[in-house]
Symmetry: C2
């Protein structure tokens, strides 16, 4: 099989033995959040004897502490750089990157936890840019912790886009058969509405089309959501469908992309869930986040398109309220690893 | 039991025998849509021997034609006014209201079908205003048909509000444990954002609180959604949470209403679904419609609050594409009848 993804491979019967290993960098995120726990729990469930290997950018001590929730998780070994990571004799290589790692205190805001999380992220992005790893999967950051540490970034995705010099990136949310590309992300809704423009929509459609091409599915049916109630009913309420969305769809169709719309947003996500479409282009953050978070349960994955590396992320925060209790669930991290391996396995070029 | 609703009463064991009958007016909507079919199918499933009786404002011929999909549906008898409807010996009374009823041609746009639908609606609203019926449940209209017939109304709800002189009405969507009051309805989103104002939100919270009081549930926990991504993160993106939503919540809490927020909209509907809240106040049409239509399947019910009568409605359109095929499902109409009887059974006064 061309591509089964990392996690599905666990129960697969056809395992392709390759001499060339491929790597995914996983960042631990904030050590005081649930990052260490979900990492230990996910590693305990992964079959790491196949094509894919992991390298963790994070604290070995925090991982060891979290292993009490997942005793079967593999051993860890600290290495100082990627070239040392390629042979750790079955142990998971951890790159701590000389960060000022604080002792883990689950649920506590900590300036060093914020600083480490950013440091590990930047190291992992560098490894992807240098081609050492094929994809990165990021654990949850605490925005307050980052701000305490003096960073002014809005969050993960914006920072990765800046690090990779990618002005036209898109935040996406994938969950099983539901996939959404958002034309904007963390903006006030009034500002997001001003950005409902033909070119921004067309770029989003193209990025969605290219991402679908890297998945192991036969179709690339893209539905573009309307902005207004009932997609504006042909201009009866709101003009964005007429002035921006419809022309963007026409433009992309003329390029051979299978896209349609604008569709009424209030029934569109059910239609995608039932298999009519492979991906929706949403006009603002909550238009895609509300339905996917309602349906996805723990298995949503954040994906960044329009950057020159493969990057997925868990779709949840640091969950300080349950950190250290053992209640955190690893499903989103497993799904993020699986999707990262799938996207990175494709022979299609990454668009940006 | 105080109130089991019409439909749940079907399988209930404790049936309260009352000599005083109560009436729900049901409008057929557009005869060329699925209205006649869902009516016949719903009537076939209702136990009409209890407290509640129905009077239909619609075409007996269209109903008879649709009975081929529900042969067990009860007989119909045309009556000329409500006083004749009280004794039809087991047959369902139909008030045709001297409307120019066209022959049923499923799926065809027809000016007389539009005219009749409005006529029946206006008659039913009049019956409710005169106290002849305790509630009205409306079948689906075709907006194009209505416009052909010369009406300029946006739709059902707006017209009912105008007929009852109710400037401050709210469109709601209920589906099982999920209930949403929208602060605005069919407006361009840019215009809806301008209407995110403290007083409009406070009125919506109060109407939701009063509606919950008429249901047979022990709590009235209202959650108010934020407008911006992550409810604006304390003003980081967007100011409406700070300037309008939070003050409206404070105002209503000072009146003793159990309300909280602003909550991040992208996780709020899952929280309501899981039982943490009884009702959400949504900041615009799609914020509530996207999650409820995704979850509700066929069982969503539209409710109008802030009018002096009880009114519920099916949560779907005329579905011309499947009209006449027998594929239409009656679940939403049954849920609308059930909710109407529940709201009308309460001894609480209707707020407006």
């Amino acid at each position: 099989m061309a591509n089964e993804g990392m996690c599905t491979r666990l129960s697969g019967t056809e395992k392709v033995i390759k001499t060339l290993k491929r790597y995914i960098a996983v960042t631990m995120g904030d050590v005081n959040g649930i990052g260490p726990e979900i990492l230990a729990k996910a590693l305990a469930r992964l079959d790491l004897g196949g094509e894919w290997r992991l390298v963790v950018y994070g604290s070995r001590a925090a991982y060891e502490e979290a292993r009490r929730w997942a005793p079967e998780a593999p051993d860890a070994r600290v290495v100082s750089n990627f070239s040392e990571a390629v042979d750790t004799l079955g142990a998971i290589p951890f790159i701590e990157a000389d960060a000022p790692i604080p002792e883990r205190r689950p649920g506590e805001l900590d300036v060093d936890a914020g600083r480490c999380a950013i440091r590990w992220l930047e190291e992992a992005v560098g490894a992807a840019q240098r081609g050492e790893v094929d994809a990165i999967v990021t654990g949850p950051l605490n925005k307050q912790g980052i701000h305490l540490a003096g960073y002014t970034i809005q969050g993960h995705t914006d920072h990765i886009a800046a690090l990779t010099d990618s002005p036209d990136y898109r935040m996406c949310l994938f969950a099983g058969p539901m996939r959404v590309v958002h034309i904007t992300a963390h903006l006030a809704l009034t500002e997001a509405l001003r950005q409902v423009e033909q070119e921004r929509i067309a770029v989003s459609i193209r990025l969605g089309h290219e991402a679908l091409g890297r998945l192991d599915i036969p179709t690339r049916r893209i539905a573009v959501a309307g902005l207004n109630p009932h997609a504006g009913e042909a201009g009866a309420f709101g003009v964005e469908e007429v002035h921006a969305i419809t022309p963007a769809i026409a433009e992309c169709r003329s390029e051979g992309i299978d896209c349609s719309g604008p569709h009424s947003a209030d029934t569109l996500f059910l239609r995608m869930k039932e298999g009519e479409f492979d991906l929706v282009v949403a006009m603002y953050h909550d238009q895609g986040h509300i339905p996917l978070k309602l349906i996805a349960m723990d298995e949503g994955v954040n994906v960044t398109l329009g950057i020159p590396i493969v990057r997925t992320s868990v779709d949840h925060g640091t969950a300080y309220d349950i950190a250290g209790t053992g209640r955190a669930r690893e499903a989103s991290l497993l799904a993020a690893l699986d999707l990262a391996s799938e996207l990175a396995s494709s022979t299609e070029e990454i668009a940006r």
